[in-house]
């Protein structure tokens, strides 16, 4: 089973295997070798990749890896196979509305216990100077509204939990 690294919304399945001069990177059928990383301390290092030496700046924050290579900055996220594959399970039996981007709650339109139909507006959020209406993806009953008016949240935060009860 491969490892998953997410980069700009795309999951890359990859694997490292050791070789004489370091490692090989397997990405599907594509192999990049040899590769290696030499730490220089203080979030700096040298990536050796197919003979080239690339200075790297990096910062690691939990499963998130921030990288600056070849004048380009990127954020990659390691997705542990256990949690990645179990994601669907977490809210099994529940439907959740997640935040498409970080922002602030402008208004909540529903209360716990309220039955809602698909496409019902649950919440109005504000982000990037634009308002976005968060709607229910299915019929259900509002179980919990996780944020109050004026509260801010991060991307992917669960905003409203619905249960499928009674449907």
């Amino acid at each position: 089973m491969n490892h998953f690294l997410e980069l700009e919304g795309v999951d890359y399945q990859l694997w490292l295997s050791p070789c004489k001069q370091g490692y090989r990177l397997h990405l599907g059928d594509e192999v990049t070798a040899p590769i290696d990383f030499c730490h220089q301390g203080n979030g700096r290092g040298i990536l050796t990749i197919a003979g080239a030496r690339e200075p790297v700046r990096f910062a690691i924050d939990g499963d998130t890896i921030h990288l600056h290579i070849r004048g380009r900055t990127s954020v990659l996220r390691y997705r542990d196979p256990l949690s990645a594959l179990a994601l669907a399970e977490k809210h099994a039996g529940h439907l959740v509305a997640r935040a498409p981007m970080p922002g602030v709650v402008v208004a909540t339109s529903v209360l716990p216990g309220e039955a809602v139909a698909a496409r019902t507006a649950l919440m109005v959020i504000e982000s990037m100077k634009l308002e976005t209406v968060i709607r229910s993806s299915q019929d259900g009953v509002v179980e919990r509204v996780h944020f109050k008016e004026g509260e801010s949240f991060e991307q992917d935060a669960v905003l409203v939990t619905l249960s499928a009860e009674g449907h």
Binding site: M1, N2, W15, S17, R24, H26, P81, L82, L85, A86, A88, E89, A92
Partner: protein
């Protein structure tokens, strides 16, 4: 160590003809393996798809670490049984790497007869667990078994090495401290229910996974109770009520990820310390084996040429090169591991047997695993040889080989007949692994000899009834006897019956043996101790 200087002329006609023949045999092997692995009736494939199940091969691949080898064992088990309708005996077994650990993978193949256990399925599972016990390898079971195939229960239920042995072996492994993980991906019914229950860890798949001794229909018949599969043995019930299962998974991949995470927690076993250096490829390519193994299995071939294409740098330290020359003995390295090689370069004589017995003891004392390369028609017979103590000397070889505590590995390269096949670490002597080459013949005596003997007997029986056979009739009888004998001494028959751990393409032998040696070192090597040698 001296390098073997190959004397093979790779440009010769003989080499080319041999090569053509053996490449065809290798291709035939690969094709049969491919068919056994992947050819399934469309309806079975569709059923799996409907049940949202992965094909067993995909399950195994997902379980293994990518970019690591998998030594599949007994791929062609049952290929000559049950009209060929139970490919691989509905089981996938092999040694692979999961989370960096060497493990035995055992997977039921639900695409064959719903994963039902046939007699040879049971034999294959028992063998896989024997391997786990002998080599102290953790086991990952991917369970998806509809229960035993009842019409054949007499062949898999009651005897010592029948189905009960699976659970006996599981218990033995546990007692030895060798952990098992079972992933319940389908139904585990009746005896099958004990596979996860006797494993240290188990994972059950929500939806398709279920464990019960008797299914709803059996319960209905036995007690009149109406129950659903979920109530009786579903994933939710077993993980929250009965405690029969440990982890709940919501997809096959999730279940496999949990299994990998569990294996990653296993202690790393300190391997048996044997001499090892950095590996070196052989000086001669393995593909030349095709040109060396003779097209006509009756022709003699030089085992040094085979060794030169198996061992590191083709280097071979030959022991007693001038004595007992029909049994080649010497030290070599396989992927860096020091091994002792015993290879037949002709029939076994008294001196060859004495040399072999002595060499085995040298290796045993030296903690050097033994590799037996069989091409043996037997011990030499005849008055002079008996008077010279050939039986007594053969017994010494058998006693030494049986008693050696270092791991033994056997490759049946060509002939494997008579007591010589026993003495060269035959199946009964528990070599850790025994592999066969496609052209090998395994039988008590050779086909020609056997045909003569059996035709004679037949003719004599008919003569008693007053029937005299024409030369033509005799020839017909001879042919049919020969055909049947040949069939039942073929490598394919042997592997169908699980007399070996699989047929190897000769070119794959080095890698397979390296994995086997590595696996064997998970078990400690006991202090050498022997029985009585008849002097």
């Amino acid at each position: 160590m001296q390098r073997i200087a190959s004397l093979v002329d790779v440009k010769s006609e003989e080499f080319c003809l041999n090569e053509l023949h053996n490449r065809r045999l290798a291709a035939e092997l690969k094709e049969r393996q491919r068919a056994v692995r992947f050819n399934r009736p469309e309806r079975d494939r569709e059923r799996l798809q409907r049940q949202n199940k992965l094909f067993v091969r995909d399950r195994v691949e997902a379980l293994l670490d990518p970019e690591t080898p998998f030594l599949e064992l007994s791929t062609l088990a049952a290929n000559k049984a049950y009209d060929g309708e139970v490919p691989g005996a509905a089981q996938v077994v092999g040694i692979g790497i999961v989370a960096g650990r060497e493990v035995i993978v055992h997977a039921d193949d639900a695409s064959v007869k719903g994963g039902a256990w046939y007699p040879l399925s049971v034999k294959k599972i028992v063998r896989s667990l024997d391997i786990a016990i002998e080599n102290r390898l953790p086991v990952v079971h991917l369970c998806d078994c509809g229960g035993g195939f009842l019409p054949l229960q007499a062949e898999f239920f009651a005897d010592r090495h029948h189905a009960g042995r699976i659970f006996h072996n599981q218990s033995t492994l546990s007692k030895m401290g060798v952990p098992q993980v079972a992933v319940v991906m389908g139904h585990c019914i009746a005896g099958g229910a004990y596979v996860p229950a006797l494993s240290e860890y188990n994972i059950i798949l929500q939806g398709s996974g279920a464990i019960f001794l008797g299914g709803p229909s059996v319960v209905k018949v036995a007690t009149g109770q109406n129950v659903s599969v979920e109530e009786l043995g579903g994933a939710d019930m077993h993980t929250s009520v009965s405690g029969t299962a440990d982890y709940l998974a919501n997809s096959e991949m999730h279940a496999i990820a949990i299994a990998r995470d569990i294996v990653a927690r296993f202690n790393r076993i300190e391997k048996a310390p044997i001499d090892r250096v950095a590996p070196e490829p052989p000086a001669y390519p393995a593909s030349e084996l095709y040109g060396i193994i003779p097209k006509d299995s009756r022709s003699h071939f030089e085992m040094r040429e085979i060794i030169a294409r198996l061992v590191d740098g083709s280097r071979f330290h030959e022991y007693q090169p001038r004595y007992g020359r029909s049994l080649l003995c010497g030290f070599a390295r396989l992927h860096g591991y020091q091994i002792g090689v015993l290879a037949n370069n002709g029939v076994l004589f008294g001196d060859s047997a004495l040399k072999g017995a002595h060499f085995i003891q040298l290796c045993d004392m030296n903690r050097t695993p033994l590799l037996f390369l069989q091409n043996i028609t037997g011990f030499m017979v005849g008055r002079d040889y008996e008077q010279g103590g050939i039986t007594k000397n053969g017994a010494k070889l058998i006693m030494a080989m049986s008693g050696a505590s270092v791991p033994k590995f056997t490759v049946v390269c060509n002939h494997s007949h008579g007591a010589g096949a026993f003495a060269m670490a035959g199946r009964a002597f528990d070599p850790r692994f025994l592999f066969t080459w496609p052209q090998a013949q395994i039988s008590a005596i050779g086909t020609d000899q056997a045909t003569r003997v059996l035709t004679d007997i037949k003719a004599k029986q008919l003569a008693v009834d007053g029937r005299h056979l024409s030369e033509q009739e005799l020839e017909a009888i001879r042919e049919s006897i020969s055909e049947e004998y040949k069939e039942r001494s073929s490598a394919y028959y042997a592997t169908s019956e699980i007399w070996d751990d699989g047929i190897l393409d000769p070119a794959d032998t080095r890698a397979a043996l390296a994995m086997a040696v590595s696996a064997s070192l998970n078990a400690p090597i006991e202090t050498p101790r022997y029985g009585v040698f008849r002097m």
